[in-house]
Subunit: 219 residues, 2 copies
Amino acid sequence: MTHSEENYLKAIYHLGSNQSKAVATNSIAEQMETKPSSVTDMIKKLSEKKLVNYRKYQGVTLTEKGKSAALGIVRKHRLWEVFLVDKLQFSWDEVHELAEQLEHIESEILVDRLDEYLGFPKYDPHGDPIPSREGQLKKTDKRLLTEVSLHMPGICVGVKDSSAAFLKFLDKNSIALGHEIVVLDKEEFDGSLYIEIDKKKMHISNQIASNLYIQVTEE
Amino acid sequence: MTHSEENYLKAIYHLGSNQSKAVATNSIAEQMETKPSSVTDMIKKLSEKKLVNYRKYQGVTLTEKGKSAALGIVRKHRLWEVFLVDKLQFSWDEVHELAEQLEHIESEILVDRLDEYLGFPKYDPHGDPIPSREGQLKKTDKRLLTEVSLHMPGICVGVKDSSAAFLKFLDKNSIALGHEIVVLDKEEFDGSLYIEIDKKKMHISNQIASNLYIQVTEE
DNA sequence: ATATAAATTTAGACAAAACTAAATAATTGT
DNA sequence: ACAATTATTTAGTTTTGTCTAAATTTATAT
C-alpha cells in the first residue's frame, strides 16, 4: 500500500464515519487538496483492490477491508501523537503534521511496541479515541461544554475548533485535555459559563465553551 | 528532497567515507540494488542540485552541501535505532529496516527532541557514531577485546570466530552484539579477563576475548 | 419539465524514478 | 598498442500519481 493510497483511505474514513452515505468525489478532493479527476483515478485503483465500493457518479464507501486498513492508519497516527506529546514534550497543536508522516511507517510490531510503551492509551491528545489492534473504537459520549448540565462532572477530551489560535488560548489558560471540568453556573444574559477546572474557578465565554468537548463521567 | 534522493546521498556517503576517491556508478547500483542506468539518472539530478560533484565516467563525490545532507540522514537513522533499542525493547539486529523508514521523517525539531529524550547518545546500538547536529562525528576504533585497555568502555560489535560453537557459547553467557563491555582486570597468568557486560561481572578466557570485536566509545 | 448549473468522469499529458537494450568510453591483458 | 572486457551513459519505455481541458452525468430552479 502506497502512502497516497493510505491517505485516500484515511480521508474517505474521516468523511464517511459520521454518515452512512457514500462520500462524494469532490469532498475527497477538497479534503486532500487535490483535483477531482485525480480522486477518480485513485478511487478506481482502490476499487480494483477491493478497498472501496464504487459506482460511477455515486460516490464511495469503504469495504470492510478498506475500513480495517483506514483504522490501522488512524491507530498509528493517534499513537504517534501520544508519543510526541507525552514523551517528546510537543504541545497538542504541533503534532498533527508530524503524525501525518509517522503514520505511514510500516510495521505491525513497531505499533504494538509503541502502544505498550505509551501504556495502552485510549485517547489521543485531542481526545479522539485510538482504535484497538482489532479496529475497535472506544465509544465517545462527548458533548460540547455548553450542553452539559450544571454540576455534572466531566473530563475535557477534545476541541471542535482545532485552530492553532484556539489551542494556544487554551494552553495560556491552562485548560488541557484530561482535566476535570464542572459547570457551576450559567449566565443567562450572554451564555457565558462559570466553571471549575482542575480545582480552579474560571469564567469563560459561550464561544469558548461551545468549542470544548467534554466526556461526561456520570450519567 | 525525496526519499530516493536521500537514499542515494546516504549510499554515496557510506561508499565514499573511507576513501577520498570518487564513488563508481556500479558500486552505487550494487549497494542500492538498482541498475547502473538508474544511478546515472539520479546522479545527474543530484549534480544539478549541487549535492554531488560529477564528471561523466569519473564517478561522484559529495559536495559540502551533499555531505551535510547525508550526515543529517545518518544522524536520524542512528538516533531512531537507539530509540527502538533503548525504549521499545527491539534487539540490535531488528532495527535497521525500521530506521530506514524513520530516517526520512522530516523535522529538525523532532530529531533534536528525540536526541534530548535519548540522553544525547554518541553511538548507535551497533557502535557506530551518531553525527552531531552540526555534522561532527566521534572517532571510532574497533579492536579485539584483548587489545582494549582496562576500564575503557566499548560496545560489542562483532566476532572473529563465527563458528556455531562460539556463538552458542556467547548466547549461553548472554554476550550479545550491542552490549556495553568494560574490561575490569587482566589475569597475567593466563591472559583471561574480568569484564563487566550489561552490568554483569564475568570472567572469560583469553581465547574468548581474542575473538570478540569491541568498538571503543571513549578516547 | 427542461434548461442551467454543479459534480463527475474521460482523455491526454507530464514528472519522478525505475527499467531494458544499445551505444560509447575506459581499462586491462598480452 | 590495441583487441577484448568492463563500466558507464543514452535512448526509449513503464508505472504512479498528478494535472488540464473536454465530455458526460446528476442535481436544481423556475
